[in-house]
Every structure is written in structure tokens, then in C-alpha cells.
Symmetry: D2
Subunit: 401 residues, 4 copies
Amino acid sequence: MEQPQEPKESAGKPPLRVGMVGYAFMGAAHSQGWRTVGRAFDLPLTPVLAAICGRDPDAVRQAADRYGWESAETDWRELIARDDIDLVDICTPGDSHAEIALAALAAGKHVLCEKPLANTVEEAEGMVRAAEEAYGRGQLAMVGFNYRRVPATAFARQLVDAGRLGRLRHVRVTYLQDWLVDPEFPLTWRLRKELAGSGALGDLGAHIVDLAQYLAGERLAGVSALIETFVRERPLPVGSSGGLSGGAVGAETGTVTVDDAALFTGRFASGALASFEATRYATGRKNALRIELNGEKGSLWFDLERLNELWFHDGTLPDTEGGFRRILVTEPDHPYLGAWWPPGHGLGYEHTFTHQAHDLVHAIAELRSPEPSFADGLQVQRVLAAVEESAEKNSVYTPVN
Amino acid sequence: MEQPQEPKESAGKPPLRVGMVGYAFMGAAHSQGWRTVGRAFDLPLTPVLAAICGRDPDAVRQAADRYGWESAETDWRELIARDDIDLVDICTPGDSHAEIALAALAAGKHVLCEKPLANTVEEAEGMVRAAEEAYGRGQLAMVGFNYRRVPATAFARQLVDAGRLGRLRHVRVTYLQDWLVDPEFPLTWRLRKELAGSGALGDLGAHIVDLAQYLAGERLAGVSALIETFVRERPLPVGSSGGLSGGAVGAETGTVTVDDAALFTGRFASGALASFEATRYATGRKNALRIELNGEKGSLWFDLERLNELWFHDGTLPDTEGGFRRILVTEPDHPYLGAWWPPGHGLGYEHTFTHQAHDLVHAIAELRSPEPSFADGLQVQRVLAAVEESAEKNSVYTPVN
Amino acid sequence: MEQPQEPKESAGKPPLRVGMVGYAFMGAAHSQGWRTVGRAFDLPLTPVLAAICGRDPDAVRQAADRYGWESAETDWRELIARDDIDLVDICTPGDSHAEIALAALAAGKHVLCEKPLANTVEEAEGMVRAAEEAYGRGQLAMVGFNYRRVPATAFARQLVDAGRLGRLRHVRVTYLQDWLVDPEFPLTWRLRKELAGSGALGDLGAHIVDLAQYLAGERLAGVSALIETFVRERPLPVGSSGGLSGGAVGAETGTVTVDDAALFTGRFASGALASFEATRYATGRKNALRIELNGEKGSLWFDLERLNELWFHDGTLPDTEGGFRRILVTEPDHPYLGAWWPPGHGLGYEHTFTHQAHDLVHAIAELRSPEPSFADGLQVQRVLAAVEESAEKNSVYTPVN
Amino acid sequence: MEQPQEPKESAGKPPLRVGMVGYAFMGAAHSQGWRTVGRAFDLPLTPVLAAICGRDPDAVRQAADRYGWESAETDWRELIARDDIDLVDICTPGDSHAEIALAALAAGKHVLCEKPLANTVEEAEGMVRAAEEAYGRGQLAMVGFNYRRVPATAFARQLVDAGRLGRLRHVRVTYLQDWLVDPEFPLTWRLRKELAGSGALGDLGAHIVDLAQYLAGERLAGVSALIETFVRERPLPVGSSGGLSGGAVGAETGTVTVDDAALFTGRFASGALASFEATRYATGRKNALRIELNGEKGSLWFDLERLNELWFHDGTLPDTEGGFRRILVTEPDHPYLGAWWPPGHGLGYEHTFTHQAHDLVHAIAELRSPEPSFADGLQVQRVLAAVEESAEKNSVYTPVN
């Protein structure tokens, strides 16, 4: 697909040249976002898919062609050294986030970093310091909690902000998947602590901690946690085995060093109670992120498997007329929807990345601190650290530092 | 409604003369069960609504007339002393369960006792001892966890027993109501520890602990809990204020001495993880008992607000054909359904009491220990006690004794 | 179950002595209604289950014992001749409705007649004339469209009456069952025109025509119809084969003389458009009566398989907040609910018969013409006749006389 | 967004240079499809967004920039005359489909034409003749019934093809929207017969006729129809008023010359019965295309507002285990899904256009007649013509020619 001409409309708009590190699942999703955002929205800057980076020269070249990147790099240091890169988009496993982000910020780049921000609180703290210094130089740093960018969750946040729930009492969140149920699923990088940092906790739990705090508009004060690894020995993958769909395995096995499931309860700063569950063993649940908030005046819930819907109960209606209503979040006045299709013509998972790109481009153009910031990412790490600490200490209630 | 003739069909069947203590919400529901069970099912004994007992002479007389009891008593000791009573059905608040049950068992009666079995583990232990001795004398004792008698939960148990879920990994249960959201709701007996024992924990939590263990087919080994009372001061009721719908209040206030909400996680004996939430502050949720079990081979979930449905995922089907299926549990071959209406003609909440009566009558006729037994009720109390202990000890993981 | 004492509460209340003809599915359901109504509601009259009538002496005696009727008769003429019967409740197949109803009215009884009112318009017309004359003598006559007595449909009617839907544009109704899918299901009375009058049309179609007109608050002006019998030859039943669950069959077959499915469109008097489908061949649909109304200001829908819920869309809300809300019709202020359980504790199918009895008892005590009247039943017959006429005439649009 | 380099991967793959006529709603959706298809799928040809065409020079230039087209034309004849265009994609209102398609085919181009194929059967017949001749010259012609390309409907078709439903008995389809409920919505082109051909019938009805026949695997033999225009006089729009969201209106009014709603029943060739409803007056229904098929062995249903789900009932399971199951059509082995995200990460409306492009590119590369062909489009037109004829003739059953 050739698109050689510079769009006339954006003639006067400066480019935002993106360099992305990583080209697996997240790389594909971010590519779709960067490629599409300028086609759906009027933007103050023109995103350019300038370079993609990965260690395997053939694979990264293929990814560049497939996803529409102008050039390919095999060393992220080279990418960062390039003058024609404005923003570094980090889509690698968590163990390399800190190093790349620090280097990119030091090199004067804006940074978008996939979640979780880092594998440890210490790394994340360093990233926040660097981001704050860089902000003084006009560089922005955002962490990729894309589920804030579902129109339904963004609209939920508007309802909460408008006081429609009143004083908050309960938040309950589950994020259920089932791709590890089979004990023969291979020991991929996501099951190795040294690469992934943690298991369901960092992968799924990070999402729901961020989303819960975002929607509640406040932070968790402390947690009590149970963590479990159900299957401790798994076959090693053969070849460059893959993502969530597994792949070929050999006769050798290795030890799973991350959690399979994490359950925790907690208290918000306001005294509201919360419960969280993240697991990859919920047979039949594919991507079931479900969140509910109950306040004195109303409640709402959302299910990622039906992401175009928000369920809202207005507790101020007469008892006989109350009930959760299914709002199809596809009206022109809903967040992000003005750019898309007529009412009822739903969006998909990938749109969250387009919206993330939209928000980041605006933040850069307007030099506003983007949300969620690295500080937000660090705070989520601190919650996850408190979860791990509580789990190690017999589930004792553990304050979030 | 006169029904003076002795049914011919049951001419040869001995009567089972029931004496019930209490005539509020549970009394009405149990009356419906006893009145209906012999009309829907062929029974080996003929239940007779012999006597109803309550302290207020006028009110209990009215209740007898309304609900169809032959006679009324104002002192439960008198009721128990009567020779023409075979079974004592205890529908009072939890603080009197132990005393009445012990006296009834000592007097040679069968006993059906509403849940929770007692307000303390100690009381419950005494009841179990008495029940075991009485069983040697041919008397039965059952605790009223009626949610085992929803056809959908009974069928769920059959699926679990048949191994359709495989090795269990997760159980998650919530029981959400919202009748305390209004801070002006009066301080009724359910909010006073000396009468109710506990709040949401004993009222709702007891149900879900029993149901979870019943469906899992195993017991909780330990728990970690958070308990909260959101509104600590409430107006005192005026007059004989009522049940879940509140009633008139005065200017005076009193202190709520029970919990408003209880959240806990736990481990089953097999290592499966569990989460529980019981609350009366979930705005918009009226009677939302929802339970899900995930096993290696399948999953199921159930929602009390749609009690004629069971959702089952058969994980052994091809990936492309999997999915939770909505089984309408209204087929003639489903538990209890042979006695009722054609497929799709659903049952209601009250049928659980009819089915409970059915099972108890059969157990008595066949001299089988009924389920759930007092020992089952005690074990639930021990879980609740562990929950309270954990909550007092900073949520530390606390084994169930 | 003995209940020999006259209830004190109703001491001053005159009895309403019911004689019921028929004791199959509908007989069981009506029995439950009559037996329960005085236990759940305060009534101005005390219903007495005085006599049940059926041709087989043993079977009717058994039914009397099972369902709680004081006496049994084997000839409906004898029943009607009895002085101690105030109301005749007709639960027989449609071919005998007219004869029994006319005789009962002539004998000075109130009449409750199961739907459809009759097998032909001519019979129904005679019944209406007799009912109108009898009304002058203080006798009431009601037809048993029990689905008006689901709390959710009764509440829906209140919303429509209050103008919450505004000008009506669309009504769509389906009533789907699947018990005839198997071509080996026997040729029971429901499949024989001389007994049943028609098939899915009279059985299911009558219900949805009445419910649609009741909720719309207006009548159908004309229809265009397709009618089909998919399986024209079926095995004859062996013995007194049964209801919707079939039963044993022999080698002989017979011809199905009723419709298997009926589809029709129509216009309401106001110009609103309507569509109807009644079938017994919708594999997987057990009792799926689903109705939706769309008006200029709002919409609502209801599904009998989830009969405690009404879905309401208030079109006057802002676009971003609109959506169908699931009203749990279990609040004390919802129709009939004050007599039952706390919010969220749902009712079942059989409660419609209890509510029907409630409304009829009140109408008799207050000498109000009951709804739905025989005239309402006749009008439904006229719609069904127009449906059959249209189907015979190549679906041409046929006015309802 | 610059993408100047020719993708290495597709170096050896010939381009497929697309010229698109029209740039409104459908133009935006088709652009997204063409732009994305080569990024998600491995294709035998490389689609090139060569030229976009529209009458307003500024607007079309803007659209080219926005949607990523290399060049812009203001006269579709010029577009067709260009040598560097291989395929003409027609996204204009129906009145110009025939003329453009005939010219494009005559000029040796492949053609993709939006639905409905034409405004009259005569036009459509001419298009089919031209398409058949062109096929002999290696040119393909496809009509854009994009709802065949929802993974869930494509998978439904596979289940039907595999005999999982058995002999078909019922098909029921509704397509409900509500954007015309407001009588002040302006008289846009979609409400003028000379441009749109018909109203809800051609716009929504065409979709559901095609989808029903596609899933059933057979054709409608005849129909009986009711058509209505509820609001006959509407304000004229001011300026180039828009799409489904209306726009500014003036004081002048004009006459609506198309239908607001169309209801029809029909018979399939096999004798299965069908019902259809298309309306723009179903308050609260935004894009509610819902289809259900019932066969002797199973059933399925689909709702476009939840397009990642297919509900399947396998009637061969034991009665106690039957029930509609919610298949999340997001597994790698589901149609089109291998190219997208992990299980549970749903797609949106726009993906149907990407999949349509995918199928057309493969058909062209393999010189296979694409589905749906112009002949399929003509057959849908014939159904719509029969619907209109029936409606004019008092709903009489009218064979589809």
C-alpha cells in the first residue's frame, strides 16, 4: 500500500516521528494505532511510523513491511540515537522497559511505555525521576494503560467525575483468562520472572489496578493478597515459541517462576472496599475484565468482552423504575466516538491503541502531562509490590507506600 | 380456604406434624413450603401445619390464619412440650436458635433450623453434639441453607459430581444487596450484634460459604478477610419496625454493631482459590448471589436473580465451539422439576423452601442424615469465625478450625 | 395436610366456593393459584377449593387429594348443579369451553374460562352474550389470559398508560417453543383440530395477541398471515398420553390437523405496525414469549423466560445516557409484589394464576367487570379468525371484524 | 503518515490499484478496509489506494488526505478512464450504481459495488449481464453485503453448512434503528426515493434478506409485506446536511417518498418460514440486526450490536444439558481471526470491510467468482421488489421471480 504523498491537510502540521521497540502482539497493536489515528482524527501533529526495532534482522524487516514502518533497526540504542525519531514507543517485555525508557528520555525523546511500567518499584522510581526531569525539557512520558481509552470506560469516568455515583462504597474487578489451563502449555517468556516480572499479577492485575483507581478517582491505601502458581513445571517451548496461543513444546520441562493467579482485597483512601482477581486459569473466560463500582447514588459496571456497552444504575430514580441500563457507548457525544461510525456500529479492542495515540499526540502538541503518567505507572507498581508483600506475609493487610 | 377431608391418597401415610417458631419473612416462606410440598410432590409422609409460635398473641394468631396453621402458641417451650408435634422448624433470629433447637431435640423432635445455625461457634458445637445424639434416637436435624435447593444449583452439583469441571481452580462468589445504602434506614434487629450475631457476614456470607462448599464438594481451609461498617450510627425504629424494607424512624439514633460488608479470599482443601463478598451496600443489586466455578475441564456460573438458569462451559469441546451455555433448568429430568411445569415455565424463590421440605420429609421417612446437617452448619460457622478473626488480625490468613 | 379450622381473620368474610373442571396442566396451575391466593393476599372473599371435576373417577379423586380440593365430580353438569359452588373454573380443552360456560352462567355461577375462549368465533359470541346477561344478574365472567398477571407485564402496562412510550410505532411479539421438533412426538389432543381448535395459533398465538393488545392499549385492525404444518403425519399415542412431554407411541399414525406455526403482521388502530410469531418448532426455545413495544418517547421489552425483569428505555434521557434498563420487578410498589418477598427474590410462572385469582376475587367482591372479559376473549378469537382467513387467502391483508 | 517505501514482503506481489467513488460514511469505511487489509493479512496482491472520486474538488481532496488516497478525481468517468486503476469501488447512493458499474466493467475494471446493487430490478439485471460478460474477460464484480464478513456470521454459515442445524424450520430477522423517530429529523437523500430507491427496505432490508439467505443457504420463494411511512412531511435540510445524525433544518418541508418501516413474512424454497422487519423507528435500538435460525437439530442466533458473539444451541445434546451457548468468535481458528488479536479481544464494525477487501483480493488473484456476486445482489433486489409489490397488493403472498 503506497501512500507517498504528504497529506495536504496536514501540510502545515509538524510530524511526530515514532520509533517503536518490539513487534509482537503489542507491537502489532501499537502499529495499528499509529497507522490509523491520523485517518480517524484531526490531529495537531502528523504521526509518522519512522522506525521499528527488534533483534532479529529478518523478522523486524518483515514486521516493518507488514505493519507499515519506514525503516527497521536491530539495536534499540541505534534507534534512540537517530535524530529523526521524536518518540520512542516501548513494546518489549517488562525487564527492558527501564533501560530503554531512561535512554530514550536522556536522548531527548518522548516516551510511550507499555504496562507494567517496570518489573520492580525501584526501576519504576528511576523512570519517574527521569520523566519528571524530561518534562522540564518539554518531553512527555506516558504508560500504556490502554483500557482507559475504551469509550465506555472513559464515559464511566465522566459519570463518576460528575458525581453520579455519589460516595463510593465498593469496587470489584476481575480479569479472567484461560490460556494456561492446559498443563502442556509451554513455558514462554511470560511465565519467567526474570523477563515478565510477574505473571497474572503484572500482566492482568496491573490493568485492573489502574482501571479501578482511574474510575474510582482515588488510590488504594492497602491490600491483602493470595497468590498461587497452580502448575509449577511446564514443557519448554521449541523454537521461537509464541504468545498467548502457545506453540510447539519439547520433552524438557522448566519451572514456572511467576504467579498463575492473584486475588486481593483492599481499601481505597475514602474507605471504599475493593476486590481484585487476576488469573489465567478461568476456563471459558477469554478476556473477561469486568469492573463494577457501587456508590451511594448509583452504580456502574463494564465488561471488556462487550466493550461497547456501559451499564449504569441511577439510584436517584424511583425504586420501581431503577435498574442497570445498557448504554451503547457509540453516540457521537461519547468519548472518541465523533471520529467513528454511526450509533450502534461498535468498535473493537484495537481502537484503544488508536485512542491512546490520539491522546498522546494531543498532550505532546499542547505540552500537557499525559495520563497515565509514569508516576501513575509507579503507583500501580507499588500496589503490585504491596500485593506481593502481603502474599508473602500470610495475606496480612499491607499499606501501599 | 377449608380443606377438611383427609386426602385419600395419603390415607395410609403417617402425618409429619410441624411446629414452627417465628412468623416473619422466613416464617412466611417456610409456611409456603410446608403448605405446598405435598401438593406438588408424592411424599412418604403427610406434612401437617400443626402449630405456629410467636410471642405476640394477636400477631401469631393472625399469622396462623394467614399462612394456614392449625393452631398458635405464644411460648416455644409450650410448643415443644406438645405431643402432637413431630418437627420443630426454627425461623427466629440467630440468638435463639441454639436454645430452641437443644430443647426440641431433647424433647424428641426433628429439627429444621434456619441459617446461620447459631450466633457463635460454641453454640453451634453444642447443637451438633445434641443432633448427633438425637440421630441415634431416630431424630433428624437439618439447617436451612435453602439455596442448595434451587434446581439450577442442585443440577450444578450433579455436573461437578460427574467430574464435568475436572480439577477445581477457582470459586468466586458475591452476594450483593442494597437495602442499607440509605443512611436513614432504621437500626433494626438485623443490625444489632446481640440479636443477629453479625451483619452481612452471617446473613449473606453464610449462604455463599455453604453454597460454595456444596458446589465445590470440598471445604475451605483458610481465609483472609476485610470487614467494614460504613454507617455506624442509625435512627432507631419506631414501633415494631420491620424487615428489609425498613419502616418508620424516630429522632433517636443507635450504634450499628454488625458489619455492613465482608470481603474474604480463601483456599480450598484442594488448593483451589476462592473469593467472597457479602454486602448490603451494592446500589442497584437486589439479591445478587452470583457464583462461578472454574475447573480444568469446565466451568459454571449461576445468578440467583435468574434462578432458572445455569451457565455451563464444557471445556472439552473444540475451541471454536466452546462458550457458556444458558441451560434453562426447567426440564423434567432436572432436580425437582418433574413435579412442576413444562419446560421454560420457571420457578421462583419460594420453591427452594418447598424443595427443602421435600428433602427433609424424605430424609425423615428414610432415616437418612439430612443435608445440610448441623455439622455442615457448624462448619460454616467456623468459616465465619475465621473470617472475623482474620479481619481482627489485619486480614492475616487464618485457618478454618 | 389438614387445615380444618376456619381462619379467624377471614371469619367475617364470605367464602367463594370454586368448582374446577379439568385437572391436567392447567388444572394443577389453577389449583395452586386458588390454594395460595388467600395465603399471600388479604382478600374480601375466602376462596374455597370446593370441587374438582373430571371424567375418570379414580384420576379425579387422586387429583382432588393431590391438589387439595374438598370433593370430586365426574360430570361437569353435576358440578354446576351443586348449590355450594359459586364459581366454575373451566380448564378443559377448547372444544368444551362454550358448553360448560353457558351452562354455568345459566346456573348462576361466576365463570373463569381458560384461553382461548372458544374454538370458533360463533361459540365465543354466544359466550359473550351470555356473560353480558349474567353480568346484569351480578355474575362475572373472565377469560384466563394469565400473562397479564406477570408483575412485569402489569407494570409495563402502567408505564404505557402513563404515556411513557408516547405514540406507538411498533409491537413485535414471538412465542417460541420446541416440543414438536421431534417428528416422533405423538398426535396428542393438542394436534387435533376437533379438540384444540387450532395449534400454535390458538395455544400460543392467543396469548400474544391478547398481551400485545393489552400492553398497547389498543386493538389490531387487520392482519396478514402465513400458517404452516411442518409434520403432517405423526404416530398415535398409546394410552392416555400426556401433555407437552409426549409419551408412548404406537406403530399407527394419524394426520395432524392443526398448525405447527403461525406468522402474521398487522396494523393497530393507531397505525402502529405489529408482527407475531407462534411456533412449536423453535429448537432450543422452551417458553420464549418475548414482546417489544417502541413508541416515540420510549420502548420496553419483556421475556417470559426471565419473567421478573422488564426492560425499559426512556427516550427522553440524553442520548449519551439512554439504554434499555433491566428493572427487577420485585419492589414492594410493583404490581402484586407487596404480598411477596423482599426485592430480588423472584416469582415464578405459577404466580400468574395466584394473581389471576386475586384479581377475580376482588372483581367479584366489588362487582366490577373483570379484565380480560369474555368480550376481550372474543376479540382475540376474531383476530385469530382473521389470521386463519388471511392464511387461506394467500396472506392478503384481512381486517379484524 | 508517510510510508514511501515499497514493502519488501510484497515486492513480488502485483499491486491492486483501487479507485473509489464516494467519500461519505461508506467511503470512510471502505478506506479503512483497503488501508488495513494488507497490514493484517498476507495477500496475493497489494492493494493501493490509488484514487478517490467525488464531485466537490475541495472535499474530495480533503477526503483523499484524511483517508490516505494517493490522488483525487472529481468525475467518475475520468477515474474509470485512468489506466492505473484496476478496481472501481462504488460507494455512492444507489441511483448511480448501475451507470458507474457498467462503465467500469466496460473499461475493464473489477468492480466492488455497495448494496443495494441498484434502485431497480431492471438496472440490477443489466449489471448482472455486464458482470457475467466481464467475468469471461477475467474481471470480477462483487456487491458489498459486508455483514457476511462478520466472523460470527461467517462461522454461523460454517455450522449450517456442516449440517449442525439440520432441516431448517424458521428464520427470523429484525434490523432496528431509531434515527428517524424525531419528526424534525431532516429530509436527507436517504428519504428521497429518486436517490435512495427505498427507505428502510433498501437500506436495512437488503442487508437482512442477504444475510438470511446466506446463512440459510437457500433462497426466499415468496413474501407477504406491510410497508409504512410514519412521518410523511419533514423539514428540508440546510446546507450539505449529513448522514444518520441529521443536521440543520430550515422552515421549509418536503415529502418523504420512501418507507420508514417494512415488515414481511416469507417462505424459503425448503418450506422454512421467515419473518423480516426493517425500521428506523425502534426507539432505543441503534443498530440491532438480530437473526435467528431454527433447524431440526439445532439453532443459532446473532446480534450485530454484540458482533463478536454467536449463540448456538446443539439440539443433539441431552435435554438437561442443552441451551444456547455464547461462542466468543475470537479464536484463531474462527474465520478471519488468525490475523487479529488473542481470544476475547474483540473486533468492531469496520473489520467487516477489511474482511470484504480480503476476500475480494483473493478472488481476483485466484480468478474466482466472488461472493456475493452481482447475481446475488440482483436476487436480493427481486426479493425487495416482491416485498414492494406485495405491500401494494394488500400484502398478498407474492412469489420472488
